[in-house]
Amino acid sequence: MTEEQKNKAVIEIRDLAISFSGQSVLEGIQLEVYEGEVMVIMGGSGCGKSTLLRLIIGSFAPDKGSIRLFGREIIGIREKELDEIRKRFGILFQSGALINSLTVGENVALPLREHTNLDRATIEIIVKIKLELVGLRKQADKMPAQLSGGMKKRAGLARAIALDPQVLFYDEPSAGLDPVTSAEIDQLIVDLTHKLNVTSVVVTHEMDSAFAIADRMCMLDKGVILKKGSRREFEQLRDSDIEVVENKQDILIRQFLRGEAEGPITERKTQSDYEEDLMMAGLMPHG
C-alpha cells in the first residue's frame, strides 16, 4: 500500500454526494485511485456504484463534492475542457455500447478518426492491433448485431483502448458472460493494466473476478463506502473465522465477499415488518 501511495493519485474524490428525487444515492464518498493500479469498486445492486462511475466520467454532476482527474477538478468545468480530459480515458460499458450502425472495425476507428489526424492506412493498422489485443481481428467487418455478448464487450474494450488512454473504466465487465469469457476479460484487464501501465477502475459485483484483478478494493453499500483497502486485507476478511470478526460492518462485508445467503444483508432485506405489510394488503378487515 505504501508503495502505491508513493504514486500520484490519478483520481481523487472528496465528499461526493448525490441524491435523486430526494433519495440519497451517494453520501460522503472519499476515494483515490493511484497510477497503475486496478481499483475494484464492489457492492450489491442499487448501492450506487454505477452512479459513482457515471459521476467520475462526467456524465452528470453531483450535488456536492469534488472529483479530480489527473489533478484537474471536473465539477463545473466547461464541456469542451471535459472533452479534453475524456480523450485521456476509455470506458467499457456494460453492454459494450457499440454504435450499431457501424461495423466493429469502424467502431474502433471512430475515436481515432475523430480525435487524431492520422491517415486512413495508419488508422486501419491501429484498429487491427487493438482488435488483435482482444482477439477479434477476424471480426472487424461484422456488424455489432452479429456478435455475441462477450464479443461485443471485447470489441467495446478495443474501442476504449483505441486512443491509448491512461485510465480505463469498466462497468460490470463480466456481467452476463460465461465463466471462460469472463475469465478472459479479467485476464485482459490485468494484461492491459500491466503491459500498458494503465490505471483501471472496475465496477463489479462478481467476487471471483474482483479478487482476480484487484490491487485495491472498495466496498460500497447504500451509497456509503464501508471499507477500502488492499486486496490482501479483503482476502483476509473473507477467509476470517466468525469469532475473529466482531465488527458488524465487517460481518456484512464478509457476507458479500463470500456470497453467502445468510447474514446481515439478507436480514436487512427481510426485516421490514413483513406481517404488518401483509395485513395492510388486505388480510385485515378495513375499518
Partner: protein, 292 residues
C-alpha cells in the same frame, strides 16, 4: 364569541375551498401543461441552436469522411423509401380534389378551373403538407425510436464519453437529411398530384391542352418557391422534434420510454407541421404573395 366566529370563518373557508378546488385543479393543470409545453419548445430551441453552431463547426473543420456517408445513409432511410407512399397519397388527393369540385364548377361553366385549383393546392399547400405528414410517420417515428434505443443501449453515453458530441454525430446528419428529403419529396409530390389531377380531368372530359395551359398559368415561381420553403421548414420541425424526443429518453425508461417517444414524435410532428402551415399561409397572404 370570537371562537365561534373563527369556527364560522373556517367552515365558510372549507365551503369555498370545495367549490374552488376543481377550479384550482384546472389552473394547476393548465400551468403544468404550459410549463411542459414551454420546456418542450425551450428544449427544441436549445437543440436547434446547438445544431446550428455544431453544423458551422463541422463545416469549418471537416471531419475525416464519416460525415458524408452518414448523411447519405440517413437520406436514403428518411426519404427514398418514402417515395412510393408519397406518390400514392398525392395521386389520391389529386383525384379527390377535382372530383369534389367538378360538379359545382361545372354549374358555372368553369369545369376546366379544376386544373387551377389542383395546381394551386398542390404546389402551395397540399404537396408539402401531405409529404410532411407522411414523413412524420416515416422518418420522425424511426428517428425517435432509433435515438431512443441508442440512449437505452448506452450508445449515446458512449459517444459522450469518447468526447464525441451526440448532436454533431447524430442530430446533424438526421436533420439535414430530413430537410433535404422533405424538399425533394415535395417536388415529387407536387408533380404526382398535378399529374393525377390531369388524368382525372381527362376522364371528366376536360381538354388536355386546356388543362396544361391552366396549370402552367396557376403555377408561378412564387407559389412553387413558397411551397419549397414550407417543405424545408416542415422537414426542420420533423427532424428536430424527432431527435429531441428520441434523445430525451432516459436510459432507465427502456422500451416503454422508446415507445412513448415514438408516439409523441408522430403526434407532435403532425400538430407542429399543420400549425406551421397555418402560420406560413397567413404570413404569405399578409405579404401579398398570393395576390395575382
Amino acid at each position: 364569541m370570537s371562537k365561534n366566529n373563527a369556527n364560522q370563518e373556517r367552515d365558510d373557508f372549507r365551503g369555498w375551498a370545495k367549490v374552488l378546488k376543481p377550479i384550482a385543479g384546472l389552473g394547476a393543470g393548465t400551468l403544468n401543461q404550459s410549463r411542459k409545453l414551454f420546456a418542450f419548445w425551450g428544449g427544441l430551441f436549445l437543440l436547434f441552436s446547438e445544431t446550428l453552431s455544431v453544423t458551422g463547426e463541422a463545416l469549418l473543420v471537416p471531419s475525416a469522411g464519416s460525415g458524408r456517408r452518414a448523411l447519405i445513409f440517413q437520406m436514403v432511410r428518411v426519404g427514398v423509401k418514402a417515395i412510393p407512399i408519397v406518390i400514392l397519397i398525392e395521386m389520391a388527393i389529386g383525384m379527390i380534389l377535382p372530383l369534389q369540385m367538378f360538379a359545382k364548377l361545372d354549374e358555372y361553366g368553369q369545369a376546366e378551373q379544376i386544373a387551377t385549383i389542383t395546381a394551386i393546392a398542390a404546389f402551395r399547400e397540399l404537396g408539402p403538407l401531405m409529404t410532411a405528414i407522411v414523413l412524420s410517420g416515416f422518418a420522425g417515428a424511426s428517428i425517435a425510436a432509433e435515438l431512443g434505443t441508442m440512449v437505452t443501449a448506452e450508445e449515446v453515453e458512449a459517444l459522450k464519453s469518447m468526447a464525441l458530441n451526440p448532436v454533431r454525430f447524430l442530430v446533424v446528419p438526421r436533420l439535414i437529411a430530413t430537410v433535404i428529403m422533405m424538399v425533394m419529396l415535395t417536388i415529387i409530390a407536387d408533380l404526382a398530384m398535378v399529374f393525377s389531377g390531369w388524368l382525372t380531368g381527362l376522364k371528366l372530359g376536360i381538354d388536355a391542352d386546356v388543362y396544361e395551359k391552366l396549370t402552367w398559368e396557376a403555377v408561378n415561381l412564387t407559389g412553387f418557391a413558397t411551397g419549397l420553403v414550407k417543405a424545408g421548414a416542415y422537414g426542420m420541425l420533423i427532424g428536430l422534434i424527432a431527435c429531441y424526443l428520441g434523445l430525451s429518453v432516459k436510459p432507465w425508461q427502456g422500451s416503454e420510454g422508446v415507445g412513448q417517444a415514438t408516439t409523441n414524435t408522430v403526434v407532435y410532428c403532425i400538430v407542429a407541421v399543420i400549425g406551421a402551415a397555418a402560420v406560413f399561409t397567413m404570413i404569405f397572404y399578409a405579404y401579398g404573395l398570393f395576390q395575382q
